[in-house]
C-alpha cells in the first residue's frame, strides 16, 4: 500500500480528531467566489490538501488515473481543487475505484437499494476505515453530543456488514457506550430491513415515562414503517423534551414515499418530537463524510431555512448539468463533493442528487431523472 496515502490518512485523521477538528466553518470574507468559499477550521488549507490528495490518488488509483487521463486533467495541469476530476457515483458499480489491491480490501460498503443488480462498491481496509470513523464521529458528535440514549431503527452490523450507514451507527453506538440492543431492526428473509416494533414501541413508551431524552436514528423508510405501526395501533407518544430524530436516505421502494414535510409532521404528531429536533443526514456509501441539515452546536450562524453542511474536510459544488460549470447561488444543479476523508478511493465524487447552494450550505432538492442506466426496474426508467 502506498506510504503517501497512509501518511495523508494519518495526518488528516489527526487533524479531524484534534479538538478544533469540527470547528464550524465561518465566513472570513465578504467578497468570495462560490468555488472558493473561505473557511477556517481544521482544513483552512483545504485547497492545498485536496491538490496533494489528487496527486497521490492519480498515482496510486489506476482506475481513477485512466479517467483523469482521458479527460486530460492530471496533477500537472490541475491547479485548483475545483478542477479535480470528479467520478460519478454510478462508476463505482462498474469500476474498482480504489488504490487498495484486492488483497488489501477486508471491507466493502455497497450502495443500498433493492432494485439494483449491481451495487456501488467502496473498498476499505483498517486505515481507510479509521479515517471514515474519525470523520463520521467528529461531525456526528458536533451535532448530537457524545452521550445519551440512542435507538437505531436498522439491523445491527452483523446482519448488514456492507452498509456504510450501519457501520456509522455502530461506531456511534460504541462511542456512546451503548449495548448492541440499541439496534432495533433486523434483516428479513427477503433481504429487506424490518423493525422489531414491539421492542421499539416498548423503548419509546419507557422513554416517554421518564424525563431522559432519546434520539431515534434511521432511514426515512424505517420511520414510515414505525409511524404506520403507531397509526395502526392508534398510539400517540410524547418523547421527553430534548428527544431527537435523525432521518436519512430515500425510500428505495421499501415503503410508501412521503414528502419530507409530511414525514416530519407525522414524526411530530406521533412521537412528540418538534420539527427543530428532527435532523436530516445526507450521506452515501461512496463518501466518508456526511452532511447534516442543522447548524452544529457551536455554530454562530442560524438560518431560517435549513441547509445541509458537510464538515470542514469536505466541500460541495453545485454543477449546472447543462454547462458542466458551477451553478450560480440559488440555481439548481448536481451536487459534487470533494471529501478529503475518501483517501483510498476517490475524493471528488459526482452524485446524482440535485441541490441549490445557499450561502456556505446547500439545500437538497431531489434526484436526477432516470439516472440509473443499468439494472433499473425496466418500466419505471
Amino acid at each position: 500500500m502506498s506510504k503517501e496515502l497512509s501518511s495523508f490518512a494519518a495526518r488528516l485523521r489527526d487533524r479531524i480528531s484534534s479538538p478544533a477538528g469540527a470547528e464550524v466553518p465561518r465566513l472570513i470574507a465578504q467578497e468570495r467566489t462560490f468555488s472558493e468559499t473561505p473557511h477556517v477550521g481544521c482544513c483552512e488549507d483545504f485547497a492545498a490538501l485536496a491538490l496533494e490528495l489528487f496527486a497521490v490518488q492519480f498515482k496510486h488509483n489506476a482506475a481513477y488515473r485512466k479517467i483523469c487521463e482521458a479527460r486530460n486533467l492530471t496533477p500537472s495541469n490541475v491547479k485548483q481543487w475545483t478542477q479535480i476530476p470528479a467520478v460519478p457515483t454510478s462508476a463505482f458499480k462498474e469500476l474498482e475505484l480504489t488504490s487498495l489491491t484486492p488483497e488489501e480490501r477486508p471491507a466493502v460498503f455497497h450502495s443500498s437499494g433493492t432494485t439494483e443488480q449491481k451495487p456501488s462498491r467502496h473498498f476499505h481496509n483498517a486505515e481507510s476505515l479509521a479515517v471514515y470513523e474519525a470523520s463520521l464521529w467528529k461531525w456526528f458528535e458536533a451535532h448530537f453530543g457524545s452521550a445519551g440514549d440512542l435507538i437505531f431503527l436498522t439491523p445491527p452490523p452483523s446482519q448488514a456488514p456492507h452498509s456504510s450507514l450501519i457501520h456509522m451507527f455502530e461506531v456511534v453506538r460504541q462511542r456512546y457506550g451503548l449495548s448492541e440492543s440499541a439496534f432495533r431492526g433486523q434483516v428479513a428473509v427477503d433481504g429487506s430491513w424490518a423493525l422489531d416494533f414491539a421492542a421499539v414501541i416498548f423503548n419509546l413508551q419507557t422513554a416517554g415515562d421518564s424525563d431522559k431524552p432519546v434520539t431515534l436514528l434511521g432511514t426515512a423508510f424505517s420511520f414510515v414503517h414505525l409511524l404506520d405501526e403507531l397509526v395502526e395501533k392508534n398510539l400517540m407518544l410524547q418523547l421527553p423534551p430534548g428527544s431527537r430524530v435523525m432521518e436519512t436516505g430515500g425510500y428505495k421502494n421499501r415503503s410508501r414515499a412521503l414528502p419530507k414535510t409530511e414525514l416530519h409532521a407525522l414524526v411530530t404528531a406521533r412521537l412528540g418530537v418538534p420539527r427543530e429536533n428532527i435532523i436530516c443526514e445526507y450521506g452515501m456509501s461512496e463518501l466518508s463524510s456526511q452532511a447534516y441539515d442543522l447548524e452544529s452546536k457551536s455554530s454562530k450562524i442560524r438560518n431560517a431555512e435549513r441547509q445541509f453542511h458537510f464538515p470542514p474536510w469536505a466541500r460541495v459544488q453545485i454543477i449546472s448539468p447543462e454547462t458542466g460549470l458551477e451553478a450560480a447561488e440559488g440555481e439548481t444543479g448536481i451536487i459534487r463533493i470533494l471529501d478529503l476523508a475518501n483517501v483510498f478511493s476517490v475524493a471528488a465524487i459526482q452524485t446524482e442528487d440535485l441541490g441549490i447552494r445557499r450561502g456556505d450550505g446547500f439545500e437538497l432538492i431531489g434526484r436526477a431523472r432516470r439516472s440509473e442506466p443499468r439494472g433499473c426496474s425496466l418500466m419505471t426508467a
Partner: protein, 460 residues
C-alpha cells in the same frame, strides 16, 4: 394569448374546479351531443375534420400560428420541432385517409350512419351498425400532443360527447385543436370539454368516471392501474401503457452511397418530439460488417445530430432531465477511459444530444431528449435476444434495409411481438390507420348491433 374561455382548461390558473362544475359540464356535454352530434353523418364529420386539418397546415392558420408562437414556452419544444410534428400529424387529415380508417376499423364509412349489408361477408343475410359511446372520457398524459389530438378525433367520428383530462401543464396543444374544431363548427365544439388538473384528484375524476361509458387513458402502468381501480364496473376501459421502440439497420444499406440517407432517417426519428414519445427509438441496432462500420455509423449520426441542433434545436428540459443526461454522460465518459469498445459523442456545454456506441446488445433505456444508443450486432437474431427484457412492451421497430429484406425482417419482429414495423425515419409518423399498441383504435371504442334478417322461404 387571446382565446375565448370556452373550455375549462381556458380558465386562468387561479380558477379552482369544483366537483359540481365537473358534473354540470358532463351533463351539458351529453345534452349538446344529443342535440348537435348524435345524428350527424360521418361524411359531415369527416369533412369538418379534414377542413380542420387543412387549416392547421396553412402557414397563416390561426391556431397553427398560436401553437408555434406560444408552443415553445408552453410545451418546451422548439418551434421547428413543433412545426414538423404538427405537419406530420395534420397531413394525415384527408377524406381518403378517414375513409381508409373507417373501412379498416368498421368495414365502411356508412356503418356509423345506418345498417349496412354484409359487404365481404359473402351471402350472409345480416346487416350491422356501430354506435360510439355516448360519453367518452380521455385521461391524457404528458406533453406530446398527437395521442390527445387522435383521441379527440376518434371520439368525434364515433359521435361521442368527450371530456379530456390533461396532465397539469399539458393542455395547451389539445386545447388549440379543440378551439380549431369549435371555430369551424360551434356545435361540434360544444360536445368537447378539456380540463387540466394533477392526476389522482379523485374528487374531480370520480365525477367524470361516474358519467362515462368509456374511458381511454395513456400513462405509466401504475397510473393506469389506479384509474382502472376507480372506474365503475359498467365503464369500458382502454389503457395505453408505456411502450418503447428501437431501430434496426442492416449491413446492406451501410454503403458509402446510401449511408447518409440512413443516418438522416435515424436523426429524424431521434429528434422528432425530442425523442419523447413511445414511438421514439431508445436504441438503434446496427449490423456489423457493413462497408460503413457500425461505429462509423454512430459517429456520422453524432455529426448529423449536431447539424440538426442548429436548424431544429432541442427544446428546454427540466433540470432533473438535464441532470439525468449529465450523470449518464459522466458514467460513459468514465467507462470510455477503460473500455475500448465504448465510444461516445455529445454536444458541448449543453445536453442537446448524445450518442453512445456500446457493444452490450441488451436493450438500454435512453434518457431521451436526443440521447441515443447505437449498438452493433452480428445479425437480427442478436437484436431479438437483446430486446428480450422489453418483450411485450415494444411499440415500433424502425428498419433500414433493402426492400427485398424488409418483409422477412418484418415477419421476424412481428412474430416476436412488435406491434408496428416501419421504415427508419418514419417512427414518429404513424398513419391515421395506426393500430395503437396493436389494437384497433376506433374499433375498440364502438359496439356493434347486428340485424339478422329472416331468410326468404322457398316457394315450396
Amino acid at each position: 394569448m387571446n382565446l375565448p374561455n370556452f373550455f375549462l382548461a381556458d380558465l386562468p390558473p387561479e380558477a379552482v374546479l369544483s366537483p359540481q362544475m365537473i358534473t354540470e359540464s358532463c351533463h351539458t356535454l351529453k345534452r349538446n351531443r344529443e342535440k348537435y352530434l348524435r345524428n350527424r353523418t360521418t361524411d359531415a364529420i369527416v369533412k369538418t375534420l379534414s377542413e380542420a386539418g387543412a387549416e392547421w397546415l396553412q402557414p397563416d392558420g390561426k391556431f397553427r400560428k398560436l401553437a408555434l408562437e406560444h408552443g415553445p414556452a408552453e410545451t418546451g419544444f422548439s418551434k421547428a420541432i413543433l412545426e414538423k410534428g404538427l405537419n406530420g400529424f395534420f397531413r394525415q387529415f384527408t377524406p381518403e385517409n378517414f375513409q381508409a380508417l373507417l373501412e379498416q376499423e368498421i368495414g365502411g364509412a356508412q356503418r356509423l350512419d345506418k345498417f349496412t349489408g354484409p359487404g365481404t361477408d359473402g351471402g350472409s343475410s345480416r346487416q350491422s351498425i356501430v354506435n360510439g359511446p355516448e360519453f367518452l372520457v380521455h385521461i391524457a398524459a404528458g406533453n406530446l400532443p398527437n395521442p390527445a389530438w387522435m383521441s379527440l378525433t376518434l371520439g368525434l367520428l364515433t359521435r361521442s360527447a368527450q371530456f379530456m383530462k390533461c396532465a397539469s401543464g399539458a393542455s395547451f396543444l389539445p386545447r388549440l385543436f379543440a378551439h380549431s374544431v369549435y371555430e369551424l363548427d360551434h356545435k361540434l365544439g360544444a360536445c368537447l370539454e378539456l380540463a387540466e388538473w394533477r392526476g389522482g384528484n379523485i374528487d374531480l375524476e370520480g365525477r367524470i368516471f361516474a358519467e362515462a361509458d368509456c374511458v381511454t387513458a395513456t400513462g405509466g402502468d401504475d397510473a393506469l392501474a389506479a384509474i382502472r381501480g376507480e372506474l365503475p364496473p359498467k365503464v369500458r376501459f382502454l389503457g395505453y401503457g408505456q411502450r418503447v421502440s428501437f431501430g434496426f439497420v442492416t449491413r446492406e444499406v451501410l454503403r458509402d452511397e446510401t449511408v447518409s440517407k440512413v443516418v438522416s432517417d435515424a436523426a429524424d426519428d431521434v429528434i422528432a418530439w425530442d425523442q419523447n414519445g413511445c414511438l421514439s427509438p431508445h436504441v438503434i441496432y446496427v449490423e456489423e460488417r457493413g462497408v460503413v462500420e457500425s461505429d462509423k455509423f454512430a459517429e456520422l449520426l453524432s455529426v448529423e445530430l449536431a447539424k440538426r441542433e442548429a436548424t431544429e434545436p432541442r427544446g428546454k428540459i427540466s433540470v432533473e432531465e438535464s441532470a439525468g443526461i449529465a450523470s449518464r454522460r459522466d458514467l460513459y465518459a468514465a467507462l470510455t477511459a477503460h473500455r475500448g469498445d465504448i465510444k461516445f459523442w455529445s454536444s458541448h456545454e449543453s445536453t442537446a444530444w448524445t450518442v453512445v456506441f456500446e457493444h452490450d446488445t441488451r436493450f438500454q433505456f435512453s434518457c431521451l431528449n436526443r440521447f441515443i444508443y447505437v449498438k452493433p450486432v452480428p445479425d437480427v437474431a442478436d437484436v431479438l435476444q437483446g430486446v428480450d427484457a422489453v418483450h411485450g412492451k415494444v411499440s415500433t421497430v424502425g428498419i433500414a434495409a433493402p426492400p427485398e429484406k424488409m418483409a422477412e425482417l418484418a415477419l421476424r419482429f412481428a412474430r416476436w411481438g412488435a406491434t408496428r414495423i416501419c421504415p427508419l425515419g418514419q417512427m414518429q409518423n404513424p398513419p391515421l390507420t395506426w393500430r395503437h399498441d396493436g389494437r384497433p383504435a376506433l374499433g375498440d371504442l364502438v359496439t356493434w348491433t347486428d340485424f339478422e334478417i329472416k331468410p326468404q322461404m322457398d316457394a315450396d
